[in-house]
């Protein structure tokens, strides 16, 4: 009999998206090489589009399987929770590499930098100006996303939407502020290892803010169209965890690079 199983697990139907994802990754990486060395952005753009297509189609399928087909039993949810936590842990270690690079370079600055940190000639950003505002923005967004969660759990639909909207707006505000800071900064990525560590670490963080904001926007959309119930809303929880992780990374960046590093 079809559609019948005596176990609580989700045996996913065959899906083309893994293969598309692999092809997308291939196209993207070759596209980057073409951009770096052969002065062409065609494959890069195509690769980015394929990556986006893969994500949209894949997670659209997950939403269909979970919200509409009921495949996400409590056992499956436990697995999803664990998987999301593990993914975030791997991202923590990714950022660890960049913090390692920052401390390796800044604790014993070389002769070429003038044996000082910040290096001679570098005017670091004022940690108590826009960066402090950014800290407040992200911390506030952590509050609003928690507010949204509680509203969701209490079945308060409009309040949840409102809190989620605030979170998204704060996330976008952070991105805009940071973009403006990047534009106005008196130093560039090419300014020695100071510029390298600053822009690569904060740059990857910014990328993760954009990813997290996108995730939250999707959650907002799903809440509007009644996907979530007060007891089952794992997609939102995963987005909230990811957002808190992004916030914590920022706090470390702020304290170590913006504050201590000036």
């Amino acid at each position: 009999m079809a559609g019948y199983q005596v176990h609580p697990w989700h045996l996913v139907e065959p899906s083309p998206w893994p293969l598309v994802g692999g092809s997308a990754a291939f196209t993207l990486t070759v596209g980057l090489v073409m951009w770096f060395h052969y002065n062409s952005t065609v494959l890069l753009v195509l690769g980015l589009m394929l990556v986006v297509v893969t994500m949209v189609q894949w997670w659209r399928d997950v939403i269909r399987e979970a919200t509409f087909q009921g495949c996400h039993t409590s056992y499956v949810l436990a697995g999803l929770r664990r998987g999301m936590v593990l993914f975030i842990i791997s991202e923590v270690f990714f950022f660890l590499a960049f913090f390692w690079a920052f401390f390796h370079s800044s604790l014993a600055p070389t002769v070429e930098l003038g044996v000082t940190w910040p290096p001679v000639g570098i005017h670091p950003l004022n940690a108590f100006a826009v960066p402090l505002l950014n800290t407040a923005v992200l911390l506030s967004s952590g509050v609003t996303v928690t507010w949204a969660h509680h509203a969701l759990m209490e079945g308060k639909r409009m309040e949840a939407i409102q809190a989620l909207m605030f979170t998204v707006m704060l996330g976008l505000y952070f991105t805009a502020l940071q973009a403006w800071e990047y534009y106005e900064a008196p130093f560039t990525i090419a300014d020695g290892v100071y510029g390298s560590t600053f822009f690569v670490a904060t740059g990857f963080h910014g990328l993760h803010v954009i990813i997290g904001s996108t995730f939250l926007i999707v959650c907002l959309g799903r809440q509007v169209v009644y996907h979530y119930t007060s007891s089952h809303h794992f997609g939102f929880e995963a987005a909230a965890w990811y957002w808190h992780f992004v916030d914590v990374v920022w706090l470390f960046l702020y304290v170590c690079i913006y504050w201590w590093g000036s």
Binding site: Q5, P14, G22, V33, S90, F93, A97, A101
Partner: protein
């Protein structure tokens, strides 16, 4: 229909099969490269006529064997096939993501091959150290393509790690942690090592990429950077990586030893699991024993020496436990998988002992980047990892295919391979002690005799590889049906037929407390 099954798979057995096919093909490429290396070194003087090309081959040989042979076969092949069946789960926790882990690998391999097809290829060694790998010394796209190859392989393994950890934690059907089979434990530890070490590699190679292409100076002293930073980041990944390459092998050897000694369980289950866990954990704290010659403080070197030697304790516990499992057996079944396992125990131990020699920073100052190191890691890899792979493969082949391999021929294969690899790598200890450096395409006449013998050994190994291809072909074409009842095993994966159905454990097994 065909495309749905093999391109869009969400079945752990089919995906495991895909990994085996991929890994077997990669093994041919890696073996060919190893033969080119030994051909160049079989006589003094030049064969290829180009030291850079020689180093491109040496680099590619390592990447292919590590990332496209050992890891896909052990974790993707054996892990995917066996873990769900051993814990009573119908599939992995994330069956669709499982497939993407596989399909990241052909692109990754293509990127590596592409790196050799442009400019002059990547002649840096698998460690890709700057400044040799920087854009001044390796202009063009080669190194960037190799970096992207590593990125994709890394994504593949990180996602796979998330999958295995979640599956093992979440989907055990009434199997308590203290009853989990040793192979499953080994995959669990391996997955955590992958999860935590690969992102650091990703960071390191991304920084190399930005140094090469968008004017960062992480590793360039003229901008205040430091090449040693790269070495720290690389080896923080690199050391756990070598445990990733051997731990699943430990798990397979345990299963093989238990079965062929006719025992119900391993000697000292708790010691075995504790040992794997400790090896994994300590593996994160010893990375700088790969960096003894860069000018580190003497106290730092002494810490890393001591920490490295400590890992010998849990490893020794495993070796002695295997021997104790064999002891007291009423009658050992002298079949091929047991031969591989016995060879493993002896030769891996030899490799581990030379590792202890190298752990001493004082000795390593002399032996670093010599053939002593090459001999050490080939003993633990070509004889550790590869023997466990071949043992596992000959042991579980009837399960995966429903057919049997010819026992007599698999035994001959073992003896030829044993001869080949030992003849290839034992003389390299002498070369290293006598000062022959690594990654050199030629050598002074005084090193000739051991190099000739080593290259002779590689030809014998080639013979055994070709013979194994024949054995595989024969097994598939003769189609002798495997009869599970004649292979009474106390391990769950054998309970569901040879080969098992597409879906197994559709009803979850229940295990009572009595064992």
């Amino acid at each position: 229909m065909y495309a749905t099954r093999w391109l869009f798979s969400t079945n752990h057995k089919d995906i495991g099969t895909l990994y085996f096919i991929f890994g077997a093909w990669a093994a041919m490429v890696g073996t060919a490269m190893s033969l080119l290396i030994r051909a160049e070194l079989s006589q003094p003087g030049a064969l290829l006529g180009d030291d850079h090309l020689y180093n491109v081959i040496v680099t590619a040989h390592a990447f292919v064997m590590i990332f496209f042979m050992v890891m896909p076969v052990m974790i993707g092949g054996f892990g995917n096939w066996l873990v769900p069946m051993m814990i009573g789960a119908p599939d992995m926790a994330f069956p669709r993501m499982n497939n993407m882990s596989f399909w990241m690998l052909p692109p990754s391999f293509s990127l590596l091959l592409a790196s050799s097809a442009v400019e002059a290829g990547v002649g840096t060694g698998w460690t890709v150290y700057p400044p040799l790998s920087s854009n001044i010394a390796h202009a063009g796209a080669s190194v960037d393509l190799a970096i992207f190859s590593l990125h994709l392989a890394g994504v593949s393994s990180i996602l796979g790690a998330i999958n295995f950890i979640t599956t093992i934690h979440n989907m055990r059907a009434s199997i308590e942690w203290n009853r989990v089979p040793l192979f499953v434990w080994s995959i669990w530890v391996t997955a955590y090592l992958l999860l935590l070490s690969l992102p650091v590699l990703a960071g390191a190679i991304t920084m190399l990429l930005t140094d090469r292409n968008i004017n960062t100076t992480f590793f360039d002293p003229s901008g205040g950077g430091d090449p040693i930073l790269y070495e720290h980041l690389f080896w923080f990944f690199g050391h756990p990586e070598v445990y990733i390459l051997i731990l699943p092998g430990f798990g397979m050897i345990s299963h093989i030893i238990i079965h062929y000694a006719g025992k119900l369980r391993s000697f000292g289950y708790l010691g075995m699991t504790w040992a794997m866990f400790t090896i994994g954990l300590l593996g994160f704290w010893v990375w700088a024993h790969h960096m003894f010659t860069v000018g580190m403080d003497v106290d730092t070197r002494s810490y890393f020496t001591a920490a490295t030697m400590v890992i010998a304790v849990p490893t020794g516990i495993k070796v002695f436990s295997w021997l104790a499992t064999l002891a007291g057996s009423k009658q050992l079944k002298w079949e091929t998988p047991l031969l591989w396992a016995l060879g493993f125990i002896f030769l891996f131990t030899v490799g581990g002992l030379t590792g202890i020699v190298l752990a001493n920073s004082s000795l390593d100052i002399v032996l670093h980047d010599t053939y002593y190191v090459v001999a050490h890691f080939h003993y633990v890899l070509s004889m550790g990892a590869v023997f466990s792979i071949l043992g596992g493969f000959t042991y579980w082949f009837p399960l995966f295919t429903g057919f049997t391999l010819q026992e007599a021929w698999t035994k001959i294969h073992f003896f030829v391979m044993f001869t080949g690899v030992n003849l290839t790598f034992f003389p390299q200890h002498f070369l290293g002690l006598a000062g022959m450096p690594r990654r050199y395409s030629d050598y002074p006449d005084a090193y000739t005799i051991w190099n000739v013998i080593s290259s002779l050994g590689s030809i014998i190994s080639l013979g055994s590889v070709i013979f194994f291809l024949f054995i595989l072909w024969e097994g598939f074409s003769a189609q002798r049906k495997a009869v599970p009842a004649s292979h009474t095993s106390h391990s769950a994966e054998w309970l569901m037929g040879c080969p098992p159905l597409f879906h197994t454990h559709e009803e979850l097994p229940f295990i009572s407390k009595k064992f």
